[in-house]
């Protein structure tokens, strides 16, 4: 999430709202953000019903570790009309390439 935070002004420049989504609880998100020195975009909690939103997007449970009850690492760009404009699923340990996401936004913006 710090990688997104560092480039948040560029996302705003493409009229894009960033939201992080995991199955963690809100108190956990609060503590996580605090540990990062704060974030200025929201973290959403897909905790209950567990992973329901992730399921709708096909990224829950994580394909590589379905027994852990966690989301895959994945980025979707939803465009102004509410359609998926770009999507990429990453390895669990892999960092999303923020420059690649910004480039995709530039092409659709």
């Amino acid at each position: 999430m710090p990688a997104f935070e560092a480039e948040l002004a560029k996302f705003a420049g493409y009229n894009a709202q960033v939201v992080g989504i995991s199955t963690d609880s809100i108190p956990c998100h609060v503590a996580f953000q605090k540990s990062l020195g704060g974030l200025t975009f929201p973290l959403a909690s897909d905790k209950w019903p567990h992973g329901e939103v992730g399921k709708a997007y096909g990224v829950f449970p994580a394909a590589a570790a379905p027994h852990l009850g966690i989301h895959d690492r994945a980025v979707f760009i939803v465009d102004k009309d509410g359609k998926i404009a770009w999507a990429k699923v990453y390895n669990l340990q892999e960092q999303p390439d923020i420059a690649e996401v910004l480039d995709a936004l530039r092409k659709i913006a």
Binding site: L68, F76, V78, K80, K83, A85, L92, Q95
Partner: protein, 47 residues
Amino acid sequence: MVLKVGEVAPDFTLPCNIGETEGDFQLSSYRGRNVVLAFYPLDFTPV
């Protein structure tokens, strides 16, 4: 199946927070803007 480009993004509302300010995140309330959904496995893992 992972949703593909061109498909309608399923709307959702989830509890969310920025710092200690809590609220709801509703995807459809951002119609007219782009939204970057960043799914990640777990808090306190690097992203």
